[in-house]
Subunit: 320 residues, 2 copies
């Protein structure tokens, strides 16, 4: 059955993959984003698809689209928005969710909210340093407020809401100027620049291949309704140390980059991995793509992007 599906933040990293998969499955897809879809390397090729509708809109303002499902993947983290513009960053999560939920309510549509694994890192104790906004904290607080709104709309209005707490995800489609660790290391390796590791590099992270993530999100959306707002962690739970990640990327790219150690960051968690038992049990989902395979494909994507984007790369190199 063909559905009308709205992807908020559809020109972003994970949003792009959802758009493409759902188009492929034969659905009518509304890609809503503040950015031009032409900026997304993967969406560029699909722009002429008759079932893809590009809607340029900031979801902080209300909107209405006739639809059956809404994936709310809009997140301010990619655009270095949150540190300089924390009010706008919070409003993207909070007002954006209210507007999405109000649309879902009128449309009797399901909503999946793309939350973040960083909600587990919040430390509430007062203290001068912690009373300042940090990028990470602003993202977490916005996501938590949005989660509460999704539960409230479920309980009060019966809107069918689902919450995915998304952990580190990587793969083609991400902005090569992205500040997330995999992208940053691959770009540095391909340019033979130093690869920076904070502290010893013994801290572990777990990286989920973007197509595995898109699959998990779609399964969560398609799972039967429950009485409550279903909340699951999505991500890969196979941990690697940051140093090992850097070494793998150097080896796979044949780079001359050196791995250099910067001072450890105070807020750097020693471990971060999702608990995917609920996703496995309730959605029958588990990430399948080994890190080496995902890294290989990501490297060839970045290589291609770098060769086509001389100007952007220069700017990026200057910035770092």
């Amino acid at each position: 059955m063909q559905k009308r599906i709205v992807i908020l933040g559809g020109a972003g990293f994970i949003g792009t993959h959802l758009c493409l998969r759902l188009l492929e499955a034969g659905h009518e897809v509304f890609c809503v984003d503040i950015r031009d879809a032409a900026d997304s390397p993967l969406l560029r090729s699909a722009r002429q698809h008759p079932s893809l509708h590009l809607v340029r809109h900031n979801i902080v303002s209300p909107f209405g689209i006739r639809c059956d499902e809404i994936y709310n993947m809009a997140s301010p983290s990619m655009v270095r928005y949150d540190k300089a513009l924390p009010v706008e960053a919070l409003k993207t999560s909070i007002a954006g969710s209210i507007n999405a939920l109000d649309t879902a309510r009128t449309e009797h549509a399901r909503v999946l909210f793309g939350s973040s694994g960083c909600v587990y890192d919040t430390d509430r104790r007062p203290g001068a340093g912690r009373d300042r906004c940090s990028t990470h904290r602003i993202l977490a607080e916005g996501k938590l407020a949005a989660e509460a709104l999704h539960r409230a709309y479920r309980d009060e209005y019966g809107v069918d809401t689902r919450i995915a707490r998304i952990f580190n995800t990587y793969g083609p489609g991400a902005d090569i100027m992205d500040q997330r660790v995999v992208m940053k290391m691959i770009a540095a390796a391909l340019q033979n620049r130093d690869i920076a590791v904070n502290g010893s590099g013994d801290q572990t992270r777990a990286f989920c291949w973007v197509e595995d993530m898109a699959e998990g999100l779609i399964r969560l959306m398609e799972a039967p309704a429950t009485e409550y707002a279903r909340t699951v962690d999505l991500g890969n739970n196979h941990e690697v140390t940051i140093r090992m990640l850097a070494e793998k990327i150097v080896a796979l790219t044949g780079s001359r980059s050196r791995i250099v150690h910067l001072p450890a960051r105070a807020d750097d968690a020693p471990r971060r991995a999702p608990d995917i038992s609920a996703a496995r049990r309730e959605l029958g989902w588990t990430p399948r793509t080994p890190l080496i395979e995902g890294l290989r494909r990501t490297i060839s994507y970045v290589e291609k992007e770098l060769s086509g984007k001389k100007h952007a790369v220069m700017t990026w190199a200057e910035m770092n």
Copy 2:
């Protein structure tokens, strides 16, 4: 110097005391509330004061008042709002704060946000039961989102914001139909009804006399500005067990009430008390009124209210 001071939720329990104290100090006071100030026993008498301006408004909608200071004490908890109407409860905290902060930004006014000690109780782990809205959780999530907005407006727009995490407060002015433990026990004792204690009653709480609280809030508002959004716990840190509280109230009222034990509640914290070291250090504030003295005064307030409110009391008794 006479200031123009806005009290959001000024007809509520703590808001009322702020209105009266700030009027007494010679300020122009704008009491903004969704309720009629005539419903507040203490404000009733001050209604004719030439410097008191009653504004009936739901702060979920924008407002503008020329002012120097805004105390945001608006909270949905009193009106049994949050369980039945979690969306509206969250919007009171979230949209209400955005509107207050936007007014503060244009007016160059200071804002004090009345947060709650319950922000420390939040448990983020997913799980069916916890994915439902509870009154306590909705309150906490709304307060946390509002705190984040206050920090963000501080960082991005330079609005001078202060955050008070308010712990259990009691005293005259509270609604005698209030569901908070002190009020509930006093009303039961005065009517010789059973006093219910959850579990053993060995769990401790700490109760702050409302005038001490009002003093702390005013000191926080008047403290020098800092680079960050100043956040402090306010409350009494002298803990008593719930059983001891019940016994004291029975003794002070000379009641024939029996203390009966109900099953323990799963979400009942064994201890809850503020850490007031920051308030002591930075504001020179400490609560001064002993519990016995505060209870005596509260009891005589409730006695007077009960005798004047036959109808309300009947309704209340029927409800319980």
